[in-house]
Every structure is written in C-alpha cells, then in structure tokens.
Amino acid sequence: MEDEKIIDLYWQRDENAIKLTAEKYRNYCGAIARNILGNGEDAEECLNDTWLRVWNAIPPHRPDKLSLFLGKITRELAINRYKANSAQKRGGGEMELALDELSAFISSKNTVEENIEAETLAKAINVFLRKQPEKQANMFILRYFHFYPISQIAAKYSASESKVKSVLFRMRKKLYSYLESEDLL
C-alpha cells in the first residue's frame, strides 16, 4: 500500500495502519535497530516501540516521507536503548564501533562546548556533508546514521573494506576540522 494511504489510516485511527507499517517497513527499521543494538530481542522490542511511537505521533504529524520518519524514530529509540544497555554493560552491535571511531578525533580535544545544541550541531553536519563528494557523504551517512557494518558499505560500493575505512577516516578528520572552524569543537 502507498505510504500516503497508510498515513491516512493513522489519521483515521485505524489500527490496520500499524500492521501495514510493520509489514512494509519491518526489514528497513529492523536493520537500523539491529545495527545499533546487535541483539535480536532488543531490536525486536525496539521495533514494537517504534510502531507505538508512530501511532502516537500521527496525527498530529503528517510525514512527507514515511520511511525516513520511521527510520529516525527507530534510530532514536535504539540509541536510547543502547545507552540504557551500556549502563548495564550490555552493549553491542555497530554502535559501539562507530562511537570508538568518532572518539578518536572528537573526544581527544577537551575544549568542547558540551552544551552545544544538538540542532546547531546537526545543522553544521548537514552543511558539511553537502560540501563533500556524494559518494563519501553517502558512506559517512550509511556508517554513522544507519550504522551499516563496513563490509556492507564496501559491498554496496563494490569497494574493498580498507578503502571504505580510508574514506571514513578522512571524512571524520574533515568533519573534525570543519566543526573546529565553526567553533563547535
């Protein structure tokens, strides 16, 4: 069913909307959740939370693109769950690796304003990514938004894993320099 019709069902408070959403987007959202949590049970619970969150969010929201709306909700819920799990030493998945990769550049400087608004930072990251070659920007997003394993990104771009690591390495360094130039680091 088309997304527009599924969204209409939400607005009509028809519970079939949840069933149809789950059918259509289980794989997409499930991949994001599993990349972050690396744990089947947690990922499954995260998906159920996503469907509930969407039910509560539409209405009043009417997302332009349902898949991205769901993806962002899944990502946020999975990250929150990851943080809770980490406190109990139950981390796992690609999230931990991605944080390690970013920390090599980001946390090494302690001159950082910890109170920078996430929105300001997000705006800067958006600007930064738009200035990068498309392929490199895509690899960065697949790694740090979707938490794709390096091997999957390499397969998608028919590149070696070391090449993808190299691109990400350079992108992280560039991002660090850019944020520094914008006084965000």
């Binding site: 991205l68 990514l129 498309e134």
Partner: protein
C-alpha cells in the same frame, strides 16, 4: 565533545541526504525522447571516432612497449595464450607490468563465434596473485577497462589488432607487497593465464628533497606510492601530481589512485597511498624514466637519483 553528540545530532540529518545515501544504485535511469536519443547517438559516434583515432597511436605504442621494447627495458613479465577445448575462444596475454603495489595486464580475446564481452560480468572473471607459498591473494583494489565492439563506451583502451576485445586489467595491493608474490593470475570463461612476476618487478625510484633528505615517496614507471603511519597528519593525500621533466619543468600528470589503511602483521596501522599514472581514456601510462628527474607533490619538488 562526546562522540554520542555527533551520533545524536545525526538524527536531525536532512531527509534528502539520507535518501541519497539509501539509494540502492547511484545510477538513475534516464528516459530520452527519440530526438534526444538521435542527438546522443550522433554525439557518441563522433566522440568514439575521435577517441579511437587518437587512442590508436597511444595503444600501438603501449603494445609495442610490451612486444618490442622488452629487451631494452626488462619489465615484460610474460606473454601467453590459452584456448578452450574447441578453440572457440583464445585468451592471449599481450603484456603485464608490476611494481611493488600495482600491476596492469593487457589481455586480448579472440573468438570464432560472435560473442558479447561484458567485463566484470564475464563468466569466471578474476584477477589475483599467487604468493610464494602457492596461496591465492586477492587485490585490495581492482579495475578493468574494456574495448568491446558492441559497447565502445566502456572505460576503453583501443582494441589490439586481431582481437575481438581487449581488456586492461589493473590491480593494487595495499599490503602485502607484490614482491612477495610469485605470479599474477587472470581467469575468464574457465581459461586461466598466469604471469610470472617474481624477479620482474619494475625498477623503483625513491624520491628525495632538494636537500637530499629521504621522503618515503617512491616513483615507478607505472605510479607513485608511499607508506606512512596514521599518527602523521593527512599530508600525503594529494589531488594533483606534476612530473619534473629533464629541464626541471613541471608537467601535469594524470593519475588514478587511492589511499587505504592497512593493518600490518605486528598490529600497527599504516596508510598506503597508491597512485598509478594514467593518460585519459587509455587509463594507464608507462613512463620512460629517462625523460624525468622527479615529481612535484603539493608545492614541493622531489628528485630521484639516477643510477649510471
């Protein structure tokens, strides 16, 4: 700043950026009107004719390099021919060169039957090396350019006379190095060509600063490479290289290449930047080092020492 902040902020990425990254293929199908199709076809024909006439000279020189110049300059690794049971298809190696990180092979296909050559999609297409223990080692990065009568728009080298299709197959190793390899192997359609590379690695020319200081850069007739550790800043990643000719004049040089992080046996990480010289659509170029004295990388000139 904690890295979590970056991760959290990325939840507010613009939707179009995420969509762009999620796109399964980076190529979108474009629908042309018949008039535009005719125009594109005419332009493609004209470009092909110009490119072919231009490329012929270069490729003939490239071919003669393998065929006739190997006595003067030793890098011809081998030539070989294999054929299938019915001799319907002959695959012939017209030449191969390698330095410590890169290799190029030119392979011609001669077929009795009409045949469509599809490059990577060709049945059993593979390029790899065999190390001195007889183990297969895959290249970290590989590319192939093809001349095909049915599809002349591929990243092309000009077809060698009498061949139905000619491939230029290139591979690069980050690590291990080619000197640890025994042979190159090219496989296609069940046929297998082997090139002995041991003792046939191209000569290397380490580059020095004007003051004679070592740099780690190494020039070869087919490229330039450098190994360095990751704790050194990004100084060896460059977008443009100039060659310095005999008069010391900087000549802009085309190249294709990449840099990668490689893990060594001791667990330490190195970056290996590998660039191979290229000349437009032919894609590779083999320099006569007699014509050059060094290279300009960034704003600095580097020189090699010629052994006389």
């Amino acid at each position: 700043m904690k890295p979590e902040k970056i991760i959290d902020a990325m939840n507010m990425l613009d939707d179009d950026l995420i969509e762009q990254a999620e796109r399964k293929n980076d190529v979108k199908k474009i629908r042309f009107t018949p008039a535009v199709k005719r125009l594109v076809a005419c332009a493609a024909c004209a470009m092909f004719i110009i490119a072919t006439s231009y490329a012929t000279e270069i490729v003939e020189a490239f071919k003669s390099y393998f065929v006739s110049q190997n006595e003067e300059f030793p890098p011809e690794v081998m030539t070989d021919v294999v054929t299938d049971e019915n001799e319907d298809l002959i695959i012939r190696l017209d030449g191969a060169v390698a330095d410590r990180h890169s290799c190029h092979m030119i392979v011609s296909f001669i077929s009795k039957k009409p045949r469509l050559f599809n490059g990577y999609e060709q049945e059993g297409f593979a390029l790899y090396a065999i190390d001195k223990n007889g183990e297969r080692v895959d290249f970290d990065d590989r590319s192939s350019g093809t001349y095909m009568e049915h599809s002349p728009v591929a990243k092309a080298i000009t077809k060698i006379t009498d061949a139905d299709a000619t491939y230029l197959v290139s591979g690069t190793f980050e690590i291990p190095q080619m000197e640890n390899m025994d042979k190159l192997v090219f496989e296609c359609e069940g046929l297998r060509l082997e090139a002995e590379i041991e003792n046939n690695i191209l000569p290397e020319y380490p580059l020095y600063t004007e003051d004679g200081a070592e740099t780690g850069y190494v020039m070869t007739p087919i490229g330039l490479y450098i190994n360095y550790t990751t704790d050194i800043p990004d100084e060896h990643i460059f977008d443009k290289v100039f060659l310095l000719d005999k008069e010391g004049k900087a000549v802009e040089m085309g190249f294709s290449g990449h840099s990668s992080i490689a893990k060594l046996a001791d667990g330490s990480e190195h970056i290996v930047a590998i660039h191979t010289w290229s000349a437009g659509h032919i894609d590779v170029l083999i320099l006569d080092m007699e014509n050059y004295i060094g290279a300009r990388i960034g704003d600095t000139n580097y020189y090699f020492v010629r052994e006389n």
